[in-house]
Amino acid sequence: MIYPVTMRSGVISEITILPGHDKAGNPEPFDRIVIRPGDTLSIVGPTGSGKTAFINDIEVFACNDTATGRTVLVNGEIPEEDFIRDPSKKPIALITQNTKCLADMSVDAFLSMHVRARKMSDPAIIAKTIDLANQFTGEKIQPGCRITALSGGQTRSLMVADAILISNAPLILLDEVENAGIFREKVIEVLKDHDKSVIFVTHDPLVSLLSDRRLVMRHGGVEKILQPDGREVRIREMVARMDLTLCRFRERIRAGELLTEQGFPV
């Protein structure tokens, strides 16, 4: 499977990360990390362990010129400059924790501006993007809503949908997607359906367990790479059920109910 994005030099079949070093200068204990279409990775570790720096290295296509000394390759080579510098050719969308939409305009005007900047011609793309965003959030986004009036979860949902459909980025980097209160499982499912590669920086057990691989960070470097290969499936199913239970409680609390059951099935 190859990415459906044609570029001057062809298509992207993989993105490779070559090791750098941790904060003390110790080399990272891996040969290379290869990301292919449809892969999901989560990056875990304590605060300050270098999780965000890792995805920033990918976003700027580091070539041994960042604090970590890592190098990022596309199809095994140093990418062409257009890939890195022209956002319409760049195969990566980064959605950071502090990313906001500052534009004070309606959702459909905002999206159509992006569509124009991308020189796309599909007239239905805006409605599709809003529909997709609405699958990620419980509070429906209306096309006429002001961007600045959207909740954190709605904004994050809209940006993920925009990255999938309008930016059409094959690799999406999501920094703490769980913070915004969006349907994480649905996001992961849709990203897989669209054959996107995703890297989650996360503290969330469910997001971590739903990823194919886990990078464990420590002191600014990758400490180890875990590949569960199905060994975590029992716990993953249990965590998914617990998550669903908590979601239901959350919805009932939001709806103003008292939760008076004397126990509950997980």
Binding site: N56, E59, V60, D65, T66, E81, R85, P87, S88, A93, L94, I95, T96, N98, T99, K100, C101, L102, A103, F110, L111, M113, H114, R116, A117, R118, M159, D162, A163, I166, S167, A169
Partner: protein
Amino acid sequence: MKLLIIAGPPSAGKTAVTRQIIRHFLGTKKCAFLKIDVVRAFEDEELREEFHIPARKIYSGDLCPDHTGIMVLKDALSWAKGLETDIFIVESAGLCLRCSPYVTQSLGIVVLSAVSGMNSPLKMGPMISLADVAVITKTDLVSQSEKEVFREKTKEVAPAIDIIETNAIQGTGLRFLMRAIDQQAEISDPATILLRGIPPLGVCTICVGKREIGWQNHFGVVRKLDGADDIFRGD
């Protein structure tokens, strides 16, 4: 000696970009710095203390900072040359969005902030169109789509400009700016340096202190509400 002229609106991150340039070349090239500002500026003191480089400032006061820059640039080049400077960085105030302090034989850098609104490049004109490089800062704070739209609008004003997106505090993506500086030619002949464009008009009866409203009370450069075009004519 290479000359860099940095312009951009207030709070766009001009000094953050300057810091990254000085830090990058520290130890290999000798930098000197001049700040042109209107009322108060602290950049010279900060940079001198942080990097131990020669740094100074000049206040334009009642004059347009661009006019001040043009007036003092020749003296400033001699000052920097006398210090055996390799890279001389001149940072302008950039207040009225009409500034265009770039000269020939220099690298003109406009610093724009991605959070200033997506139409802001369209409001600036020669500050962008006469620059060689546009450094767009704070791109970590806006959405992907806003970043892309900001870029398109900048290119609308200056189709051939070299656009570099960065979080200037972290210095991400600035390797392309450093490369442009590396490739920049040295000043060949200071006596032939010319301003690239025409600066905003800076002398009129309002500038010199007449405060009455209405064009009937002024002379030199006047403008009526109706029937005026963008070219101001003396009256």
